[in-house]
């Protein structure tokens, strides 16, 4: 009894919304229902995304990690390679602040890229992800992970009632 993904293709956002609403009234987990679209749809219009977005907090954490790295870079001079300066200071605070700030921003930017891609699921290279290329021609796809049998029949009925122009099965993950 392995589950698969049921993909319904809809002409407009109103039909897709009807389908999404109908699917949510079935006993399916909310994260197993999603839409595939060429433009971002407002949360709750067609489907709901119950999982909170986590990575933004970690970006802030990485900002501070970067600040520490920048501090280390600017101060490393003094510690690693002591220099003859006739008693003058090598560490000065304003340049240290500048370098710290820049490296912190660099870490934050890279963290946004990597952690964001990770949370979007874009780094799952081995996984087989379902896709509907026809969304680029103005259609919206609504997908649901269903078990074969009663769940599949109910989901198909919901999609048909909403006006799906095509319903198909695909093996894979959302």
């Amino acid at each position: 009894m392995s589950s698969f993904v049921l993909i319904g293709l809809f002409d407009g956002v109103d039909q897709a919304a009807k389908a999404g609403h109908a699917l949510r009234s079935l006993p399916l987990a909310a994260e197993n229902i999603t839409s595939i679209s060429g433009v971002p749809l407002p949360d709750g219009s067609v489907t709901v995304d119950p999982r909170p977005i986590r990575f933004s907090l970690y970006v802030v954490v990485f900002w501070f990690v970067g600040a520490l790295a920048g501090l280390a870079l600017a101060l490393a001079t003094y510690l690693l390679y002591p220099l003859i300066t006739a008693g003058k200071a090598i560490i000065s605070i304003p340049p240290t602040l500048i370098i710290t700030y820049e490296v912190a921003m660099l870490f934050a930017l890279l963290a946004t890229l990597i952690l964001g891609a990770r949370e979007m699921g874009l780094l799952r290279f081995r996984a087989r992800k379902v896709h509907e290329p026809r969304v680029h021609d103005g259609k919206i796809a609504v997908c649901a992970v269903v078990e074969p049998g009663e769940q599949e029949i109910q989901a198909r009925r919901a999609m048909k009632n909403a006006g799906a122009i095509d319903i198909r099965i695909e093996e894979g993950e959302l």
């Binding site: 220099l83 003859i84 300066t85 006739a86 003058k88």
Partner: protein, 232 residues
Amino acid sequence: MKHRWAMAIDLDRCTGCGACVVACTAENNIPVIGEEEAGKGRLMHWIRVNRYWEEESPGARATYLPVPCQHCQRAPCEIVCPVYATYHNEDGLNAMVYNRCIGTRYCANNCPYSVRVFNWFDYKWEKPLDEQLSPDLSVRSRGVMEKCTFCVQRIRRVKDQAATEGRKIRDGEVQPACVQTCPPGALVFGDLEDPESAISRLFKDPRRFRIFEHLGTEPHVVYLKRRKGAGA
């Protein structure tokens, strides 16, 4: 033994003859770049004699100001070098490391006295002029900054000599090439750490001033003001 090398230039005595320039060029392996390059503003003199005209012709009078590296205690050139090619050594000299320089020329931009010069090309000494080169210091490659070092090779030689003989350095024993050559004796060099030295006395002279003193660079080269009407 701590030293603080400094120089005093008596403008009453300076005649603007330029012998200091010639001596410095001979002592420090400085190339003679030729008339065309000099016209482009690329003179390599480590000490130059500034000439200022006081009136228009026909009564024009010139004043001369020899300008070596001022060896500033708060050298603006030292902090801006990205690779530490110029630093402050324990003898109070602003030292230059040719091997380290990558030629950003920021130090030259930051020197208000414009005493730093740049090797625009690989300069050659045609035979037999290469025999004149001093083995005590290097010939610099293209792309490297250089400037007056207070003849650090002579300072080092005297320090070594004094250490071998187990004595202190005598006042007037260290003489950079320009100081040694100056015919009217306008240039005086010595150790400020020695309270008895000539230079320590001149640093308290009421005629003393520094160039661009308002910039706060605290140079170790002090000038003694020319008294108006003294001689011609």
